[in-house]
């Protein structure tokens, strides 16, 4: 058991440039002779392409290249299913499918040329009902699905991209024997990551090597994507990410880098692409998935959960991308961090002619958790038990067995519940039209390989060279704290060389809340190697045994005789290279007994689970249905916290994003699958003035299997239970749960005034 060192709050080094506007983002970059790119998107969400005539576009003065599928290798790509081409060939499958790309002298010219491309279609019926798409006689989004290269654990079949089930014991029998059974059905609409920075890409070829500056969360995946689709070796591709203006998952995955690289190669000029806000909504193959969630729970009178049945249907949209694991992840969230005797949950991920869904902060979790937590409150009501008490009796603890047979080690689920209740003053008198709701959730840590170098500079400072990606969470900015701890230096003594695939080792990128968890371990290991070298050098220099040396405050000194010492700067200044490298051992996922499960993608158990309870106090305007969130208490077990300021910041942002998902954020589609509100006027993010008081408590348990010095992750969990907590508070005020997410004023008003139940 490692003990948490005393840690002082650390202010990240990239903050000032970002706040003052001095920071450089991809769109700020301009290269001599550069051209501007625009895409021609599908004119129909579902149509067969009959012909593409680019002659008029090519003839426009100032246009340098017009590319279609004919101009790039005929390669399919994707995440768990290779179901997509850079340019649509036979069919367009959603409104953001790219048919052609143009490079021209100005962005306006490029847009004009894109409009001149004559595309002839045979319009097909849009397959927008993702639940109905699974029916046997449904038309197919991908006629050639059986020929696709796909992860065989997915269970790809027709319009069902993935099927996952979790089976523990005999849920049917247990349900039949339960004292109380509650059934619910919830529907969550799609939503977006909505980063401040619309994406931008600049590509430039020198010889047969291409450098691509891109606002991506996953530079190494972008590199692989370019290499794969343009049929060139990865070593000829270098990705650099200038400062990233947020992503929230939407900039995970390989997106548009190859289109721009192909244009740059065709024109032999640097080419730049900058998205408009509208494109940022319409074109990325990334949004939070819509979901239908049916839950049934049987309990004994004393609140024991004896059975859970569930059926989930998720809208995958037109293509797979990196979201192949969603069915399984959603199934785990339909179980939640509870001790349940018997489980039978089926989860389906279906294709449709809508924007593809992809990882958005804790994919599948906020919606599934919102449904489950309201369902738990319904169960509590049926048991005539306080909802907090029901959770107290059923949350997982050490020795309990998870839905797939995982046996939990020490975790802080119950402590987070008590902490949140305490912070919000659960049970106190409230003014009329106010109520408190409580929700619990969980999120896994992902153990993946990751690497870093640490080197000392001649002036005694250090540089961390890492493949990790800073998406704004501060995870990379916090790495110096870990290196400094290992080396008796100050965090401020470290610079970071990052977001350049030619510099740092391979990394999964900023996804899965795993940067601290994995890259943190790598940095600690690299710094430890440096420490070993320093001890060797100092032992030589001072002519003492290594064991007699103390390393602190930038100095190695002999125990008991502090005058006999040498500084790190002196050793580093000698010219002797002092470097370390690290990757750290990847922790293994806990053992499971998931014999009854299908669709096993490695997420049927949760490694070093992070536990959360949030309580929300809300106020309802009965006449309008408008909800105001007044206070949120957030209690988190994210292991031992590396940097309190940074971790708190993730909770503030996550809770606000959670409030948006609860109340106002939704991407709505028309009958053909076109987005109805692709802009910030009608896609309603919460603003700073809507932010409630947010109180935070960290339950710092030294979790087995955790990351560096007992740390887990914290990027995604904060928005997981927020909609559920708000939903439970609203249900108390309205008298029944709102079964649609987001719980918009109109939906709340309808529930109060007995309007039609959707």
């Amino acid at each position: 058991m490692t003990m948490a060192p005393e840690r002082t709050p650390f202010i990240r080094s990239d903050g000032k440039e970002k706040v003052t506007g001095a920071g450089r983002y991809t769109a700020d970059l301009n290269l001599t002779g550069q051209l501007h790119a625009k895409f021609r998107y599908a004119d129909h969400p579902h149509a067969r392409i009959l012909s593409i005539d680019t002659a008029a576009a090519r003839a426009l003065p100032g246009v340098f290249a017009v590319l279609t599928w004919e101009d790039v290798p005929d390669v399919l790509y994707g995440g768990s299913v290779n179901d997509r081409r850079l340019f649509a060939k036979e069919k367009v499958r959603w409104e953001g499918d790219i048919v052609a790309a143009v490079a021209a002298r100005t962005a306006d010219l490029a847009a004009e040329a894109a409009g001149l491309i004559d595309v002839r279609y045979e319009v097909l019926p849009p397959l927008t009902d993702f639940a109905a798409n699974a029916e046997a006689d449904a038309q197919l989004v991908h006629e050639a699905w059986a020929d696709y290269e796909a992860d065989e654990n997915l269970g790809l079949s027709g319009n069902i991209l993935g099927h996952s089930s979790i089976v523990k014991g005999d849920a049917d029998a247990a349900m039949a024997g339960a004292d109380v059974v509650v059934k619910s059905r919830y529907v969550a609409d799609a939503s977006q990551g909505a980063p401040i920075e619309p994406r931008a890409i600049v590509a430039d070829w020198q010889g047969d090597k291409v450098t691509v500056w891109s606002s991506t969360q996953v530079p190494f995946a972008a590199r692989s994507g370019i290499a794969h689709t343009l049929n060139i070796p990865e070593s000829q591709v270098r990705i650099i990410v200038p400062l990233l203006g947020g992503g929230f998952g939407s900039k995970c995955d390989f997106h548009f880098e190859a289109h721009v690289a192909a244009l740059a190669r065709a024109t032999r000029r640097p080419v730049k692409l900058v998205f408009s806000r509208r494109e940022e909504f319409l074109a990325p193959d990334h949004r939070r998935e819509g979901m239908i969630i049916e839950l049934e729970t049987g309990a004994s009178r004393d609140g024991r959960l004896v059975a859970r049945r569930g059926r989930l249907i998720l809208d995958k949209g037109a293509y797979c991308g990196e979201g192949g694991f969603f069915a399984q992840m959603a199934a785990m969230h339909a179980c939640g961090p509870y001790q349940i005797d018997a489980v039978n949950v089926d989860s389906y991920l279906n294709y449709s002619n809508q924007q593809p869904s992809g990882s958005i902060r804790a994919p599948t979790a906020p919606q599934a958790c919102w449904a489950l937590e309201q369902h738990m409150d319904e169960l509590a009501a049926a048991l005539e038990m306080d909802p907090a008490e029901l959770r107290r009796r059923t949350l997982i603890g050490e020795g309990d067995e998870g839905p797939a047979g995982q046996v939990f080690e020490e975790i802080g689920a119950k402590q987070t519940l008590e902490a949140a209740l305490d912070m919000i003053g659960y049970g106190r008198e409230l003014p009329e039209d106010e109520a408190i709701g409580v929700a619990c959730g969980w999120w896994p840590s992902f153990g993946v390989p990751s690497g870093a170098y640490v080197k000392l500079n001649r002036d005694g400072t250090g540089t961390i060279v890492t493949g990790a990606m800073e998406s704004g969470t501060g995870a990379v900015m916090g790495l110096p704290l870990l290196a400094a701890e290992a080396l008796g230096m100050k965090a401020e003594d470290f610079s970071i060389l990052y977001q350049d695939t030619d510099a740092g080792p391979w990394d999964m990128g900023s996804s899965g809340s795993q940067t601290t968890f994995n890259n943190g371990r790598a940095v600690v290991e690299a710094a430890t190697e440096v420490r070993e070298k320093l001890l060797d050098l100092a032992a030589d220099d001072l002519e003492v045994s290594r064991d007699d040396l103390v390393l602190a405050d930038g100095t190695l000194s002999v125990k008991g005789s502090p005058d006999s010492s040498v500084t790190i700067a002196t050793l580093a200044g000698s010219g002797e290279p002092i470097l370390g490298k690290g990757s750290g051992d990847v922790p293994e996922a806990p053992a499971v007994d998931a014999s009854g499960c299908v669709g096993r993608l490695g997420l049927e158990s949760f490694l070093a689970p992070q536990l959360i309870t949030q309580a929300a106090r809300v106020k309802l305007d009965r006449d309008t249905g408008v909800i105001r969130v007044l206070e949120v208490a957030a209690a988190h077990d994210s292991g031992v916290i590396v940097n309190r300021i940074g971790a708190d910041g993730q909770v503030y942002g996550g809770v606000l994003m959670g409030i948006g998902q609860a109340l106002s954020e939704a991407t709505w589609f028309d009958d053909e699958g076109r987005q109805l509100n692709p802009g910030l006027l009608d896609y309603k993010l919460q603003t700073a003035s809507d932010a409630p008081e947010i109180n935070i408590r960290w339950v710092e348990i030294d979790t087995p299997n955790a990351g560096p010095n007992g740390g887990k992750g914290v990027g995604e969990p904060p928005s997981v239970p927020t909609p559920g907590a708000i939903g439970n508070a609203i249900a108390k005020l309205v008298g029944r749960p709102i079964d649609r997410l987001p719980m918009t004023p109109e939906r709340v008003w309808e529930a109060i005034h007995g309007g039609p139940e959707e």
């Binding site: 509208r278 802009g679 309603k684 003035s689 309007g755």
Partner: protein, 299 residues
């Protein structure tokens, strides 16, 4: 002409308009709209934002003159407006964010002629008139006669709005503007309503009620006004006025709300605006913005 020029005087601006240019003040509608692809920027623009004098707020015996360049921020912080033309302050304080209120002008709001514009209903209830500089001299019109449809006005392309005038308010006047909003800032009115009332000896002697985002133009609702006039302003009269406003609404169905919800909310915001206006006329403190201070259930 094409391109952009900056006018130093009203005459220069009017000349530019006559030559085909469109005026631009704060640009928060024109430029932001163009960026969003609603309609591209006009080929010729004349910047009017530096013309001296057009940003003044002047009180006279006859009332108050608001230059076209008066910003929403200036309206919100003006003591006389807060006190006697309170509905206008209720509206301007809701416009966009701090940045929008500092940059956006009253004249731009009026001339953009959006059916969801926030200052429209207050200006109508407060009896506003607009003065235009034209090639043939100044012209004044009631605001009621200005708006004809979304983005459409009776002003000619060569007419420059120079000021909005609000007549002096009688004693015991109260006014308020309330909009339905889903979040606290950066909103657009889903529905809105303004009311201005004059009380005499406890009775409502004059009532003006206008609705926002409930018809192609912002409009007064006579039936609602009649329901209130001559009454003591008690609950039944207020409710009748609110219902009349809802009945007069021609709400649409879109991504922001269904027509059913909009109509129901028309009654709610009208009721709140009328209640706040009456309370203010009685000298009670209803803090600006009324949208926030009337939140909650009505009993």
């Amino acid at each position: 002409m094409t391109g952009y020029i900056r006018a130093n005087t009203v005459e220069e601006a009017v000349a530019a308009l006559a030559a085909g240019a469109r005026p631009i003040a704060g640009g928060t509608d024109l430029v932001v709209g163009a960026r969003q692809g609603k309609q591209s920027l006009p080929d010729a623009l004349v910047g009017i934002h530096r013309i001296p004098g057009l940003g003044a707020i002047t009180e006279t015996d006859a009332g108050i003159d608001l230059g076209t360049l008066v910003s929403h921020a200036a309206i919100v912080s003006h003591p006389a407006i807060r006190e006697r033309y309170t509905a206008l302050a209720d509206a301007s304080v809701l416009v966009g964010s701090h940045a929008t209120r500092a940059q956006g002008t009253l004249g731009g709001n009026v001339m953009h002629a959006s059916p969801a514009m926030d200052t429209g209903a207050p200006l109508l209830c407060l009896g506003g008139t607009a003065t235009f500089a034209t090639p043939s001299g100044d012209r004044t019109t009631d605001l009621v006669d200005l708006w004809t449809g979304p983005g459409e006005t009776t002003a000619g392309p060569d007419e420059l709005l120079v000021a909005v005038h609000l007549p002096a308010s009688a004693q015991a006047t109260g006014s308020a503007y309330v909009r339905l909003q889903y979040r606290r800032h950066m909103e657009i009115a889903v529905v809105g309503a303004a009311a201005a009332v004059i009380l005499d000896g406890g009775a409502v002697t004059r009532a003006a009620i206008a609705i926002t985002a409930l018809a192609p133009v912002i409009r007064r609702v006579e039936s609602a006004e009649q329901a209130l006039t001559g009454t003591s302003g008690g609950a039944p009269a207020v409710e009748a006025a609110a219902q009349a406003a809802a009945d007069a609404a021609r709400p649409i169905d879109d991504v922001r709300a269904s027509a059913t919800y909009r109509r129901a909310m028309a009654a709610v915001v009208t009721r709140r605006a009328v209640q706040a206006a009456i309370a203010r006329a009685r000298g009670e403190e209803i803090p600006i913005p009324a949208t926030e201070s009337t939140q909650g259930s009505w009993r």
